[in-house]
Amino acid sequence: MRDIKTIISKVCPSATFEEGDTLLVTVPEKEWHKFAENLKNNPELGFDVLSAVVGVDWKDSIGVIYYLTSTTHAWDMISVKVVAEDRENPMIHTVSDLWKVANFQEREVYDFYGIKFINHPDMRRFFLRNDWVGHPLRKDYDANPDLNPIRMTDEINEDDTVSYVENEKGEVKAVPGKVFGEDDYVVNIGPQHPSTHGVMRFRASIDGEMVKKVDVVSGYIHRGIEKLCEGLMYPQTLHYTDRMDYMSAHQNRHCLCMCIEKALGLEVPERALYIRTIMDELMRISSHLLSFGCTAMDLGATTAFFYGFRERERVLDIFEKTCGARMSLNYNVIGGVMADIHPDFVKDVHAFLDIMPASLKEYHKVFSGNVIAQNRLKKVGYLSKEDAINYCITGPSGRGSNWSNDCRKKHPYALYDQVEFNEVLEDGCDSFSRYMVRMREIEESCKIIAQLIDKIPEGDIRNPKTPKLIKLPAGRWYQQVEASRGTFGVYIESDGGKNPYRMHFQSPCFNLVGVMDLCCRGYMIADLITIGAALDFVIPDIDR
C-alpha cells in the first residue's frame, strides 16, 4: 500500500500535513470541494464515510475539521482541516452533495459558528431558533441575556429556508426557499408526542396516510453541552456524557475517558478495563431491551414492552448496587472507574445471564414471531447499504443494512480484542433487520460478559498515577467507541490549559435522525413511528 500522503499530494498539491493523533490534512477552501470529490470517488482513496464534522474557532481563523474513514480501503482515519477565508462572514463549500450525512452536520456548524456552506440546499439553523442572535460557540460570542431573552412568541417563518448558491463566476448569492409547498398538508408530530421517544419534532407532509416529506426540527432539549464543556475542567466534563444518550451512559463516558487518557498517555489498570467492558455490555443489553420494549410499544403491543422492562430492571439493579444510580451512572473516571464493584456483582451478573436466553425466547414468541409485528416491520423503512454508509448510519441500524461498522471489531479498545464475539449483520435493510440485529446483539453481549465475569483480576480500579489536576498538552484527539446506538466519537482540542478549548461529541443518533426523511418517504404515518422506533434514536443524544 502506498503512503496516503503521496496520493493526497498528487491529488491536491497545496495540501499540508500535520502528524498527530490522526493525520491532519489542511487544504485551502478554494480547493476543498474538488479535493473532497477526490477523497470520496478516487478509487485509490475511497474515503466514503464522513465520521465527524467539527467546527472550530481558532480566534484568528474559523473553520471545520472533517474526520473521514473508508469502508473499502484499510486507511487509518484521516482528518481534513478547512479554514474559511473571511472570519467575519465565513463561507465554506458544502460536501453534503458527496456525503449526505454532512447535510445536518453542516447545519449544526452553521448554527454554532455561523459558517455558511455554499451550495448547501437548506441552510437553516439546526438547534436554535431562527431568531437567535449570534452563534454561541464562536469565541467572540456575546452571551448577554438581553440579546436572547426567553421569547414568549412562536418561531416565525419556520418554513423559510435559504441556500447560498455559487454561480460560474464564483459569486455567491442567497436564494430563499420554502421547506414545504403551499398545498402540502403538514402534520406536526412532536415535540410533545408519545412516540418520538423524547422532545423531538417532525413535520411531515402527508398525502392521505402517505408520508411525502419529513422535516426534522430539533433542539427542544438542547443544553449546549459542548459550550458548557469549554468552561469546565476535564473531570467535570465527564458528567455530561451520561446525560446525552442516557441509554449508553457507560459507553459515552468510557469514550471521553479514553480520549483524555490517550492525550495524557495514561494507562488504565487491568481490573478497571474488565469492569468497563462488562459495564459497557450490560449497558448495551439494557439499551437494546428498552429498544425492544419501545418498538413493541410503538406498534401497540404494550405487553411486550413490560416484558422488556422486566429484564432491564435487573440490569439497572446491578448498576444501582455498584454505581449507586440507575440512570446517570457517573461511573467511569479518568484513569479507571469511580468505585469498586459491589461484592454481589459477579453473582448478580451470573443470575442475569442465566435468565436472559429464556427471556429472549419469550420475546420472540410474544412479539418477533407475531404475524402482525412482522408485517409492520418487514419491508418498511428501506435503507440500502450505500445510503447507510453515505448517511453514516452506524450501530445496529447500520448493521441492519448489512454494513459492518462495529467499532469493537474495527478498532478494538478496552478488552474487546481478548473476547470472542460476532458482529451481528442482517441484510434486510428494513426495520425488522434493525430490530433483529438488536435482539441478536443482546446474545453477543451476554457472551462477552460471560467470558469476562469470572476472570476479573484483583488490583487497582484506578491508575494511582492519575494527576490531581488534569491538563492536556496542546493538540487534538479523536476517539470512537461503539455505543448502544452506533459509533460515538469525542473530539478534544486543547490549548494546554485545564479546560478543553473545544470539545465535540459526535453522537450516533444525530445521524440516525438524518435518514428519517429518506426512510419515511412513501410509507405511511404509522410507519413513520415504527421506522423511528427501529432506528432507535434518543433525543438528548441528538440535541446534546
Binding site: Y185, V187, N188, H193, P194, S195, E209, A296, M297, D298, L299, G300, A301, T302, T303, A304, F306, Y307, R310, V366, F367, N370, I372, A373, N375, R376, M524, I525, A526, D527, L528, I529
Partner: protein, 362 residues
C-alpha cells in the same frame, strides 16, 4: 327456569290497578318507560365501571403487574374515584372548533350505545324491546355511533383527530359488512331476526354447535369484526395513541371524553352480548342431551347470570387480543377485511344456506 316476566307483569298490573281507569294507560306507559330508562342508564354505568376495572386488572395480569391496588380492597374503588374525577373535570372549550357539532358528537356516540344495550336479552322475560327485526335494528343503531366519531374528528379542527376519524370511518364501515354477514349466517340458520325467538331457538343447543362448521367460522369472523367494530387492539387505529396521540377524541375533556370512554367499554360488552345471543344461546343455560341432572343444575343458575357471564367471557377474549397483538396498519387492516374476511363470510353464508336448505344442521 325462573321467568322474570312474572315480576314485570306484576309491576304492570300494580300500576294499572293503581289508576283503575283505562284512560290513564298513557300514564302507566310513561311511568314504566321512566323506570326502564333509569334502569338502563344505571346498568350502563355499573357495567362501564365494572368493565374498566375488568380490563385494567386483566391487562395488569397479562403484563406481570397487579393493577390498581390502593383504592379499596384490591383497588375495587379505583374506578369510582376515576369516574368521579372525570365528572368534576372542566369541559374545555376550544377556539376555532365547530362548537355545536363538537358538543353533539359524544351524545350521538353514547346514545347509539345505550340504545343497543336496551335491545339485549338479559334473561327469560327480561327484555325491553322485542320486535320482529330485533337484531337488524341493533346493527342499524350500531352504525349511528360512527357518525358521532366522524363528527368528533371533524369538529375538533385538529389534524390528528381528523385522521383518526377518517380511519375510524373506513374501519367501521368495512368491518360492519363482515359483522352483518356473520350475523346473517345465524339468522339464516334460525330463520328469525326476533331476538327472543333467536334465544328460544337455542334451547336444545347453541347455534355454534347446531350450525356445523359454518357457524364456527361465522363466530370467528364475528369476534374479529367485533374487535374492529369497537376500535380495540389490534384494530385500535382510530385512537392509535402512539401515532395520533388519542385519535378522534384528542381534544375532548371531562365528561365528554368520559362519554367516548364509557361508550367504548359498553360497546365491548354489547358486541360480546350479541355474540352470546347469536352463538352461545343468549341466556339459555348449557344443556347436554341425556344428562338430565346436569341440565337441572344448569337450569338452577338464573338466566341473567348466564347471559352476563357469556358476555364477559367473549369480552375476555377481545381484551386478550388487545394486550397481546401489535396494532395493524390502515392498509393492512382494510386489505384484511376486503380481501379475506368479507369473501370468506360470503362463502360461509352460501354454505350455511345450502346447509339449511337441505336440513343438514342439527
Amino acid at each position: 327456569m325462573f321467568d322474570f316476566g312474572v315480576w314485570t307483569s306484576a309491576i304492570n298490573d300494580f300500576l294499572v290497578g293503581l289508576f283503575h281507569n283505562p284512560q290513564y294507560d298513557w300514564l302507566v306507559t310513561l311511568i314504566e318507560c321512566v323506570i326502564i330508562g333509569v334502569l338502563v342508564l344505571l346498568t350502563y354505568t355499573v357495567l362501564a365501571l365494572f368493565y374498566i376495572l375488568y380490563e385494567r386488572k386483566l391487562c395488569a395480569w397479562f403484563q406481570c403487574r397487579l393493577g390498581p391496588m390502593r383504592v379499596g380492597k384490591w383497588g375495587l374503588l379505583q374506578v369510582f374515584a376515576d369516574m368521579f374525577k372525570i365528572l368534576i373535570k372542566e369541559l374545555i372549550s376550544l377556539k376555532n372548533t365547530d362548537k355545536f357539532l363538537f358538543k353533539l358528537a359524544p351524545y350521538i356516540v353514547i346514545t347509539s350505545s345505550v340504545t343497543m344495550l336496551a335491545c339485549l336479552p338479559w334473561g327469560r322475560g327480561l327484555q325491553i324491546i322485542n320486535f320482529n327485526i330485533g337484531i337488524f335494528f341493533v346493527l342499524a343503531v350500531s352504525s349511528v355511533g360512527v357518525l358521532g366519531i366522524l363528527l368528533a374528528g371533524w369538529a375538533s379542527n385538529n389534524k390528528y383527530t381528523l385522521i383518526g376519524a377518517m380511519r375510524s370511518g373506513a374501519q367501521m364501515i368495512s368491518y360492519e359488512i363482515s359483522l352483518g354477514l356473520a350475523i346473517l349466517t345465524i339468522v339464516l340458520l334460525a330463520g328469525t331476526m326476533n331476538i327472543n325467538e333467536l334465544v328460544l331457538a337455542q334451547e336444545d343447543g347453541w347455534f355454534i354447535f347446531k350450525g356445523h362448521i359454518p357457524a364456527i367460522i361465522a363466530f370467528l369472523i364475528y369476534v374479529v369484526a367485533a374487535t374492529a367494530e369497537t376500535n380495540r387492539g389490534p384494530f385500535d387505529l382510530p385512537e392509535a395513541e402512539h401515532e395520533l396521540t388519542a385519535g378522534y377524541h384528542t381534544e375532548y375533556s371531562g365528561i365528554h371524553f368520559g362519554f367516548f370512554y364509557l361508550a367504548e367499554y359498553l360497546n365491548l360488552f354489547i358486541v360480546s352480548g350479541i355474540a352470546s345471543l347469536m352463538f352461545l344461546g343468549g341466556w339459555m343455560p348449557l344443556h347436554i342431551a341425556g344428562w338430565e341432572q346436569f341440565n337441572a343444575v344448569m337450569d338452577y343458575i338464573p338466566s341473567i347470570v348466564w347471559f352476563v357471564l357469556k358476555a364477559f367471557f367473549i369480552s375476555y377474549i377481545i381484551i386478550w387480543f388487545k394486550w397481546t397483538f401489535p396494532r395493524v396498519r390502515i392498509d393492512q387492516m382494510l386489505a384484511f377485511e376486503w380481501k379475506y374476511l368479507m369473501p370468506l363470510s360470503l362463502v360461509n353464508i352460501v354454505v350455511m344456506a345450502v346447509l339449511v336448505a337441505y336440513n343438514w344442521h342439527f
